[in-house]
C-alpha cells in the first residue's frame, strides 16, 4: 500500500482542485473509485474522446484487483493541467497479467498459432492504428506534449510501418539445419518464442516504443505484459483496445500502467516472466538486469541512455550539417536517447559553423503541441524541466559560455528553448551526463584523431554522427566511433529494418531489423541420431 500513500501525497491537492477545471474534463475523477474510461476534450480538434483508463488484462479493461483507489494522474505538460487519471497497477495486478500471458502462451499463442496467423493479426493492428492515427496523435500530443503533426506523421507513421515490417517476419522465423554426419546424425535448430515478455517503455516516444517492443515479440510468438511509463500511459491503453479489436486472443498483450518502483520491479523480479525488454535510463537498466540475475535469470535487453557525439569536419556541407545537427539535438525537444548532445567542430570552420548553427537553432519554435507553428513541445514533466534547468545552470557555473538560450520562460508549461553552450571542457557535467533536453555542448578539434578521441570519451555508446565530404574519412571515422548507430551526413533518422542499440553502457541487445528477432527467440538444437551405435563402455 506504499504506492497508495505516495499517490495521495503527490496528487491529493490536484484532486481537490480538479472540479474547477473544465478544459480537459474527465467525468470520473471526482470519485475516489477508479472508473474504466475517461472523457477528454481535444479543443484544437473540437473533439471529445472516450479513452480507456483501466488495466488491460485478457482483452478487457479491469480495475485493480487489490488497490482500487490507486490512481495515476496525468498532466498536460504544455498547460500543467490534469488530463485525467488511470488505474495504477499493483504487484498483484502484474501477477494476474503474467498468469494471463502465460495461459495465452501455452494455449492460444506461441507455438499454438502459425506465423501466418500472427502476421495477419499484426497487419490488422497496423490497419487499425492507421485508421485511428488522428485521435492517437491528439492524445499523444496532449499527454507527452510533442506537436500533433509530428506525433501523427513520424511517431505513428513509423509505428505503423514497424508493425507491418514485423508482420512480414512472423512467418519467416527460421532455424538452421546443420550438417553433422550424413551417415548418422541430423541436427537442426528451432528458434522458439521465449515466452512471457515483460516490456517496460519510456515516455519520450510512447507509441513508437510500444511498436518497437510489441511488433517483434508478437511476430516471434511471445506474449506480453506491457508497462507504459506512468507519465504517458494513455496511448498504450488506446492501442490495447485495438489489440482486442484486431482479434488477438485474450492474454496475448496485457497493459498495466504502474510506477516503475511497483510494476517495473514486479516484472523484473517475477519468476514467471521469461524476458524483460526495457528502454529507459541506465540507472534503471542496471536494476532490471540485477533483478533478473537475482530471480529467474530472465533474458534482458536494454536500450539505455546516451551522450552521442556529432563531428563536423571542414569538408562538410556546412549548411546541411547545421540542419542535421539541429535535428540531432532539438528533435523531440532533446528528449531522445540518441540526442546528438555533444558537437565537435573542426577549428578551421568553427566560427563560421557555430554562428550558422545558432541562427538555425533560433528558428525552432517550441510551443503548445496543438499550435501549428510549434516545431517542438514542452518537456514531459516538472521533474524533467527542473533537471534540465539544473544542467543549464551547472553549465554556466562550470564556465561554459551560452551561445543561445539560458532564459527561463514565464508562465505555465514545461517549455525550454534551444540552448547552446560553447567553450566546454571534458569534465563539465553538461559534457559528461545525459541531459535529455534541448541543450547542446559545442567543442572544437584540430585533427581527425582528436575528434575520434573526444567523441569516444564517454561511458555511453548509443549514437554518433559525422559530417564530411571525404569518403575515406567517412569510412575511417565511422569505423572508429564506439556506437551502435553511426550516421554519416545525417542524424537521428532510423529505419525499421536497420538494427538499433547500444555499445558500452548504452545497452545490451538490438532492436529493429532482423536482429531484434534474436532477442525474442530461444534457440533449441535438436540432435537426431539415426545411425550412430554407441559402444559401451567407451
Amino acid at each position: 500500500m506504499a504506492a497508495k500513500s505516495i499517490y495521495t501525497k503527490l496528487f491529493g491537492r490536484a484532486l481537490l482542485s480538479f472540479s474547477s477545471r473544465t478544459l480537459y474534463h474527465s467525468s470520473h475523477t471526482l470519485s475516489t473509485m477508479a472508473s474504466l474510461s475517461a472523457h477528454i476534450l481535444i479543443r484544437a480538434a473540437n473533439r471529445e474522446l472516450e479513452i480507456p483508463t483501466g488495466l488491460f488484462i485478457n482483452n478487457e479493461f479491469v480495475p485493480s484487483a487489490d488497490s482500487p483507489n490507486d490512481l495515476i494522474h496525468l498532466v498536460n505538460p504544455a498547460t500543467e493541467e490534469t488530463i485525467c487519471s488511470v488505474v495504477a497497477g499493483s504487484v498483484k495486478d502484474i501477477d494476474i497479467a503474467v498468469a494471463a500471458a502465460r495461459k495465452a502462451f501455452n494455449t492460444t499463442w506461441g507455438k499454438n498459432v502459425t506465423g501466418f496467423e500472427r502476421s495477419k493479426l499484426l497487419n490488422k493492428l497496423a490497419d487499425l492504428m492507421e485508421r485511428d492515427q488522428d485521435i492517437l496523435a491528439e492524445v499523444e500530443s496532449l499527454n507527452n506534449g510533442k506537436p500533433f503533426k509530428i506525433a501523427r506523421d513520424f511517431d505513428i507513421g513509423d509505428s505503423i510501418q514497424c508493425l507491418r515490417y514485423y508482420a512480414g517476419w512472423a512467418d519467416k522465423i527460421t532455424g538452421q539445419t546443420i550438417e553433422v554426419d550424413n551417415k548418422t546424425k541430423l541436427a537442426f535448430t528451432r528458434h522458439d518464442p521465449i515466452g512471457v515478455c515483460g516490456q517496460i517503455i519510456p515516455w519520450n516516444y510512447p507509441i513508437n516504443m510500444w511498436a518497437w517492443k510489441v511488433a517483434p515479440a508478437l511476430a516471434c510468438g511471445c506474449t506480453i505484459v506491457m508497462k507504459p511509463s506512468e507519465l504517458t500511459p494513455l496511448t498504450a491503453l488506446m492501442l490495447s483496445k485495438l489489440i482486442a479489436e484486431a482479434g488477438f486472443p485474450p492474454g496475448v498483450v496485457n497493459t498495466i500502467p504502474s510506477l516503475g518502483s511497483v510494476g517495473g520491479v514486479a516484472l523484473s523480479t517475477h519468476m514467471d516472466v521469461d524476458k524483460v525488454a526495457f528502454t529507459g535510463s541506465t540507472v534503471t537498466g542496471r536494476k532490471v538486469m540485477e533483478a533478473a540475475a537475482k530471480s529467474n535469470l530472465k533474458k534482458v535487453s536494454l536500450e539505455l541512455g546516451g551522450k552521442s557525439p556529432q563531428l563536423v569536419f571542414e569538408s562538410a556541407d556546412l549548411e546541411q550539417a547545421a540542419n542535421w545537427a539541429c535535428l540531432g539535438i532539438l528533435y523531440n525537444t532533446g528528449q531522445d536517447c540518441t540526442a546528438g548532445s555533444r558537437l565537435y567542430v573542426q577549428d578551421t570552420i568553427y566560427d563560421k559553423f557555430v554562428s550558422l548553427l545558432v541562427s538555425k537553432a533560433k528558428e525552432l519554435v517550441i510551443g503548445d503541441g496543438f499550435d501549428e507553428k510549434s516545431g517542438g513541445g514542452p518537456l514531459v514533466s516538472k521533474t524533467q524541466f527542473d533537471k534540465v534547468w539544473r544542467y543549464i545552470e551547472s553549465g554556466s557555473a562550470q564556465g561554459a559560455k551560452l551561445a543561445l538560450g539560458g532564459q527561463k520562460r514565464p508562465g505555465k508549461g514545461f517549455f525550454v528553448d534551444p540552448t547552446i553552450f560553447t567553450d566546454i571542457n571534458a569534465n563539465m557535467d553538461i559534457v559528461r551526463d545525459e541531459i535529455f533536453g534541448p541543450v547542446l555542448a559545442v567543442g572544437r578539434f584540430k585533427t581527425e584523431e582528436e575528434a575520434i578521441s573526444l567523441a569516444n570519451d564517454t561511458s555511453y555508446g548509443l549514437g554518433a554522427g559525422l559530417h564530411s565530404n571525404d569518403a575515406n574519412q567517412c569510412m575511417r571515422v565511422s569505423s572508429a566511433l564506439e556506437a551502435g548507430t553511426v550516421w554519416i551526413n545525417q542524424y537521428n533518422l532510423l529505419n525499421n529494418n536497420v538494427p538499433f542499440g547500444g555499445k558500452k553502457q548504452s545497452g545490451i541487445g538490438r532492436e529493429l531489423g532482423s536482429y531484434a528477432l534474436d532477442e525474442y527467440t530461444s534457440v533449441k538444437a535438436i540432435h537426431w541420431n539415426f545411425g550412430e551405435k554407441l559402444d559401451w563402455p567407451l
Binding site: 538486469m289 540485477e290 553511426v486 551526413n489 531489423g513 540432435h527 541420431n529
Partner: protein, 500 residues
C-alpha cells in the same frame, strides 16, 4: 622469468615428461602475481599436492585488462584481418595436435578423468573447435540493408573488445577452446581465468599461444580463485564482456556485477538437471548405452548430465535390469589404467557434496538400487549410483548433483513424461528415446531445453549451438550462433542525397 614445474608420467597409458609454467600469463609473458599468492593443485586420485601455481588477484586482473585493451586497440581487433586470425587459430590447433598426448596426460592428472577419454574426446574436441572457428574468422559478416535511394545502410559486426572468460574444472581445455575459439575469431582480446582446481592445461598452453603468433596481450591467462580474480574480472570497468561456464549461483553473481559496473555483456552456461525420456518402443541395448553415457560420462560432472531418467512403465523393469548391469560393469579406478571407465571426482568439496546428496536421497525415501557409497578409501571416488522410487520433490530430483548419481522415475503417458521433464528450473538439455518419429519430434519440441537429443545423449557437435533455456543460462556457444555473442553490431546510416 617465472617458475615452472616438471612432472614425470610413468603410467600404463602414457610415459613422458611435462613441464608446465606456473606463473600468470599476461601480455605474452609469465609474471609473478602482485600479491605473491599461490594455489595448491591436488591430485584427485589421492588428494596429494601435485604442485603450486600462482594465484592472481584483482591487482593482476587490472594489469591484464590494461594489457588486453592495449593489444585490442593496437595489435588485434579491427587491426588484424580475419584471415590472419584464422591462420593463428589453425596454428594453435596444429601445436596442440603435436602435443596431444602430453595435454591428455595433464588433463587426466589434474581432473581425474581417464587418459583415454582425455585423449579421444577432450583434446581432439578442443583442437576441432579451434579449427572450426579458424574457418569463421574471415567470414564475420554484416548486412547491407535496402532503405531508399538516398540512404545506404549497412551493419558491421565488430569485435566487442576485451572478453573475460571464466571456465570450469570439468572439461578444462574443451571449455577453454569454446571460449577462445569464437572470441579470437571475432577479433576480441581475452583474459581467461581457469578453474583454480584445474589450471594445468591452460598454463601449458601459454607457450603455444606465443608460438602460434598471437600478439602479446591478445590472450592472457590469469589463474586465481573465483571470489578474487573471478569477481575482479566481472566487476572490471575495462572488460567489455564476460563469458562464464559454471554454477547458476555464480552465474547470477556475474550478471549482478555486470549490472552494477559497466553493463558488460554477459553469456552464461550454467547448471542443469536434464531429463532422459525412454519410451516402450526403444532399441533397449542402444538406449541403455546412451543413457549410461548421459549420466556417467565424466563421472557425472557434466552440465548436461542426464540425471533424471524417465522410463515408460512397459519397459521399466527390463530397462532397469539392463541399465544396472551396465552401471555395474563400469570400472572405477586409476585414470591411467587402460580399462578404467571412471576416475575420481575432482575435489574433496565435490566428493562431499555428492555424498551429501546421496544421503539426502536415502533420507527422503528413495531406494538406492546400486552404488551409493564411496569407492576405495583414498581419493574422491564414488560408486556409480542409481536411485529408484524417486519423488518429484526430492532434492536428488530437483537439484544438480554433478556426480555419477541417476534418479530413475517411472511414467505412463507421454503427457506425464513431458510434464515431469519440464518440472525443473533448469533447461539445458534433454534426450528422447523412441522409434516413433512423430513422438520423437513432439517430445523433443515440447521439452524446455536448449539441446534435445533424439536417440542419443551427451553427443555435442561443435557446429551445433549449445546453451540453456530457463535458469540454465543466457546466450549460445558453438556453431555460428556463438559469433553473435562475441560481436557488437554497428549500424551505419550513410546519407547520399537526403537534404534536410
Amino acid at each position: 622469468m617465472s617458475s615452472s614445474f616438471t612432472y614425470q608420467f610413468d603410467t600404463p597409458a602414457y610415459k613422458g615428461t611435462s613441464t608446465v609454467p606456473t606463473g600468470l600469463f599476461i601480455n605474452g609473458k609469465f609474471v609473478e602475481p602482485v600479491e605473491k599468492g599461490t594455489i595448491e593443485v591436488l591430485n584427485p586420485v589421492n588428494g596429494k599436492v601435485i604442485t603450486s601455481v600462482a594465484a592472481g588477484t584483482a591487482a593482476d586482473i587490472d594489469i591484464a585488462a590494461r594489457a588486453a585493451k592495449k593489444a585490442y586497440k593496437e595489435r588485434w581487433g579491427l587491426k588484424v584481418p580475419g584471415m590472419q586470425r584464422g591462420r593463428m587459430l589453425n596454428k594453435l590447433a596444429d601445436l596442440l595436435q603435436a602435443n596431444a598426448d602430453e595435454f591428455s596426460a595433464l588433463e587426466a592428472l589434474d581432473v581425474g578423468k581417464t587418459f583415454g577419454v582425455a585423449r579421444n574426446s577432450d583434446i581432439p574436441g578442443s583442437i576441432a573447435v579451434l579449427r572450426y572457428y579458424a574457418g569463421w574468422a574471415d567470414k564475420i559478416q554484416g548486412k547491407t540493408i535496402e532503405t531508399n535511394e538516398k540512404k545506404l545502410a549497412y551493419t558491421r559486426h565488430e569485435p566487442i573488445g576485451v572478453v573475460g572468460a571464466i571456465i570450469p574444472w570439468n572439461f578444462p581445455l574443451t571449455m577453454l577452446s569454446w571460449k577462445i575459439g569464437p572470441a579470437l575469431a571475432a577479433g576480441n582480446a581475452v583474459i581467461l581465468k581457469p578453474s583454480e582446481l584445474t589450471p594445468l592445461t591452460a598454463l601449458r598452453l601459454c607457450p603455444l599461444l606465443v608460438e602460434a603468433g598471437f600478439p602479446d596481450g591478445v590472450i592472457n591467462i590469469v589463474n586465481g580463485y573465483g571470489s578474487t580474480a573471478g569477481q575482479a574480472l566481472s566487476e572490471h570497468m575495462t572488460v567489455d564482456k564476460i563469458a562464464f561456464t559454471g554454477s547458476t549461483l555464480t552465474g547470477r553473481k556475474i550478471m549482478e556485477a555486470a549490472a552494477k559496473t559497466n553493463l558488460k555483456k554477459v553469456t552464461l552456461e550454467l547448471g542443469g538437471k536434464s531429463p532422459s525420456v525412454i519410451f516402450d518402443d526403444v532399441d533397449l541395448e542402444q538406449t541403455v548405452k546412451w543413457v549410461s553415457h548421459g549420466i556417467f560420462m565424466n563421472h557425472g560432472q557434466a552440465c548436461t548430465a542426464g540425471s533424471r531418467i524417465f522410463v515408460q512403465a512397459g519397459i521399466y523393469d527390463k530397462f532397469l535390469k539392463a541399465f544396472t548391469e551396465h552401471a555395474l560393469s563400469l570400472k572405477v579406478g586409476d585414470p591411467f589404467a587402460r580399462d578404467t571407465y571412471q576416475g575420481p571426482q575432482v575435489s574433496q568439496t565435490q566428493f562431499e557434496r555428492i555424498m551429501g546428496y546421496i544421503k539426502s536421497g536415502k533420507e527422503d525415501g528413495a531406494t538406492v538400487h546400486i552404488g551409493g557409497e564411496r569407492h576405495g578409501n583414498e581419493g574422491y571416488f564414488i560408486q556409480p549410483t542409481i536411485f529408484t522410487e524417486c519423488k518429484p520433490n526430492m532434492k536428488i530430483v530437483q537439484e544438480e548433483i554433478f556426480g555419477p548419481v541417476a534418479a530413475v522415475i517411472r511414467f505412463t503417458t507421454e503427457e506425464e513424461a513431458v510434464e515431469q521433464a519440464n518440472d525443473t528450473l533448469y533447461g539445458l538439455a534433454c534426450s528422447v528415446f523412441t522409434r516413433d518419429i512423430d513422438r520423437a519430434i513432439r517430445v523433443a519440441h515440447s521439452i524446455e531445453a536448449g539441446t534435445a537429443w533424439i536417440n542419443c545423449h551427451n553427443s555435442t557437435e561443435l557446429s551445433v549451438p549449445f546453451g540453456g533455456f530457463k535458469q540454465s543460462g543466457i546466450g549460445r556457444e558453438l556453431g555460428e550462433y556463438a559469433l553473435e555473442h562475441y560481436t557488437n553490431v554497428k549500424a551505419v546510416h550513410v546519407n547520399i542525397g537526403h537534404r534536410l
